[in-house]
């Protein structure tokens, strides 16, 4: 079936630099997207979300960009800190549905 596709690279980032995590999705019927951060041994922690009627949303140090033309979602983390080291998942929800379909995750390692 259609699903969010997120290859599982490891992104190494120097402390203080910006991080960009990318996600491709294939279901054009998805109307809601969300990013989670998961630290080892913990449940996913909500970071930021965006509805399909928007193309950009900002939070504290994070920005989510949505490009519906190419079905691409990204998470930008400004001034990456050691505490940002974790696995990041994107997820989508099909319109009128409820369940989230998750990508495989990207590990972010912040180097001091």
């Amino acid at each position: 079936g259609e699903s969010v596709g997120l290859h599982l690279p490891t992104l190494s980032v120097q402390e203080g630099d910006n991080s960009i995590i990318n996600c491709a999705y294939s279901n054009s019927a998805s109307d809601y997207f969300i990013w989670y951060k998961q630290e080892s041994g913990k449940g996913p922690q909500f970071i930021i979300d965006i509805r399909s009627n928007m193309d950009k949303r900002q939070g504290q140090r994070v920005t989510v960009l949505l490009n519906k033309t190419v079905k691409h979602l990204s998470l930008q983390i400004a001034a990456t800190q050691p505490g940002d080291s974790a696995v990041y998942f994107c997820a989508e929800r099909v319109a009128a549905g409820n369940k989230l379909t998750f990508g495989g995750g990207t590990r972010v390692l912040v180097k001091p």
């Binding site: 997120l6 809601y32 969300i34 989670y36 913990k42 449940g43 996913p44 922690q45 909500f46 979300d49 998942f89 997820a91 929800r93 409820n98 369940k99 989230l100 379909t101 998750f102 990508g103 495989g104 995750g105």
Partner: protein, 117 residues
């Protein structure tokens, strides 16, 4: 409570035994979800409850898996005759539900780590 809680945090069982996993959602949240996360993998949807509506069971992998939600709050996920491939982290999430501000945002608990020997 302040967040979603799950118990037990860890469970080791023998193949063939039944297990029950518990989830306490955020107070006032009407929607509750169960997901499964295998080692190093993303999350796999299992089941969804919304208020008094019939649950969406489309993600349950077999009839050995079942879940109930009593009184619109606490939920129990039951796995009967456990198999080694059931070993995973079982995560529960809740959201405020339809018609509520940001009602679709799902907040996760810490998970139950199940190991079937």
């Amino acid at each position: 409570g302040a967040g979603v809680s799950q118990s037990p945090s860890n469970k080791v069982t023998e193949k063939g035994k039944d297990v029950e996993l518990r989830c306490d959602p955020i107070s006032g949240h009407t929607a509750l979800y169960w997901y499964r996360q295998s080692l190093g993998q993303g999350l796999e949807f299992l089941i969804y409850f919304q208020g008094n509506s019939a649950p969406d069971k489309s993600g349950l992998p077999s009839d050995r898996f079942s879940a109930e939600r009593t009184g619109g709050s606490v939920s129990t996920l039951t796995i009967q005759r456990t198999q080694q491939e059931d070993s995973a982290v079982y995560l529960c999430a809740s959201s405020a539900g339809r018609g509520r501000p940001r009602g679709e945002t799902q907040y996760f608990g810490p998970g139950t780590r199940l190991l079937v020997l």
